[in-house]
Symmetry: C2
Subunit: 253 residues, 2 copies
């Protein structure tokens, strides 16, 4: 069982030339990041790599070793540029096999859709010893091998796979956060932020400036695993802003 | 001068807890990726790391060594969580100094805005030996140190810095691309794609499936540095699709 002190971490490897070329705007980083927060798992690092075996192997092997969980997105479709399964099998040192359960799922799915061709059967291939992650959209499952979770590149399909995994992974105390906004230049409150963060050991304060309505403002996001500390830190920061005649806006601007 | 054969590469390090928490959806990856394409520079890898010195140092030192250019975004504002300059100075092994030109720019900018406070002066700090990248939005410049380009986290500010750098970096032959769409399941054409790519040595074909109007389709992106090869590959793939009674849609769907 997890104790309050144990922090669970994850990394994400986004696989795809289309992200690196700027053609496709990635949506999986934000989606997986937000989902992990709810599971009490901290996303420590993301890498975007090309459809290139050596690049995938390097990222997967480093990041699965230094995190509790490693997620990948992309490259598990039926075409020649879908090399994720082969690369991860190579990374973990097992052969690629046709997973009988995945094959049965695809046979069923394609029964009324022209049958299970050789290309479609590629989507039943997994590193040996894998478990499947259900995909309620179009059959082809995600793959779990050890602490590696192999997800789709298409964000709506990955969303379904994340739903299937919700509550299944051991996590720690979720990182709580509260946001307050203020019409103030962040440079005016830099000292206040630094002092306040220092006073609350478990808290981090992030400062995110913006410009709008012809004015300068910032949102301050306070994060902590301790709810009491979090509330006290938010109170202290709000009082500090009020003392400067810059009232805080709870929830942010 | 670049020759046709030389490929110039870049990497990007996105710095920020707010991306890893899912609070902020990154826009800089796509923006910088697309800009680099135009400069004839290939984006090889992206990493998203926390506001954490060790994580920044590790990523910067590995990626600047194995690429022609390294870009970073985020963490160059006036607040305590803006640690990018210090981390990169540590990575490259030089002290942090107040850059006189940056100080002059900020003094000018803040003259009518409450003066240059100590917090604001933080934005004039650079690794020793740096050059500045103009920021037409709010004074605080980006920083160039060797092959490292330190950019803002706010996408509109980074856009201005990229404009200032346009045409300034040596690049190779730009990677050309053409897209054709088709109402076809990608699994039906997997063999055609594989054969066609093999027939044109300089070309890569990416396959990006989608679902819409109750049908299955895919866009195929063909990339090459050779314009003739690219055109021939597009023609071959289009003919292959036509032979299957699946006409290609030039430009994609």
């Amino acid at each position: 069982m997890a104790t309050a002190a144990r922090i669970f971490t994850a990394a994400l490897v986004v696989i795809g030339d289309e992200i690196l070329s700027g053609r496709t705007h990635d949506k999986n980083i934000a989606q997986i990041a937000a989902w992990l927060q709810v599971q009490g798992i901290r996303l420590k690092e993301v890498r975007v790599v090309a459809d290139d075996t050596a690049a995938i192997v390097e990222a997967v092997n480093l990041l699965r070793a230094r995190n509790d969980y490693l997620f990948t997105t992309g490259g598990i479709g039926p075409t020649h540029d879908d090399i994720t399964v082969d690369a991860i099998a190579q990374a973990v040192g097992v052969p690629v096999v046709v997973h009988p359960e995945a094959q049965a799922i695809l046979e069923d799915y394609y029964e009324t859709r022209g049958g299970l061709t050789e290309a479609r059967l590629r989507m039943a291939r997994t590193p040996e010893g894998a478990a499947l992650i259900p995909n309620r959209y179009n059959g082809a499952p995600g793959i779990r091998w050890g602490n590696v979770f192999i997800m789709a590149g298409v964000p709506s399909i990955t969303a379904g796979m994340l739903d299937a995994l919700s509550g299944q992974l051991e996590g720690g105390a979720p990182l709580l956060s509260e946001t307050i906004g203020c019409w103030v230049g962040e440079s005016e409150v830099a000292d206040l932020l630094r002092r306040t963060e220092k006073a609350f050991e478990t808290c981090q304060i992030g400062s995110y400036p913006f410009w709008g309505e012809g004015r300068t403002g910032a949102n301050f996001v306070i994060r902590s695993v301790d709810a009491q500390d979090l509330a006290a830190c938010v109170r202290a920061l709000s009082e500090g802003l009020a003392a400067m005649d810059r009232p805080a806006v709870p929830g942010g601007i």
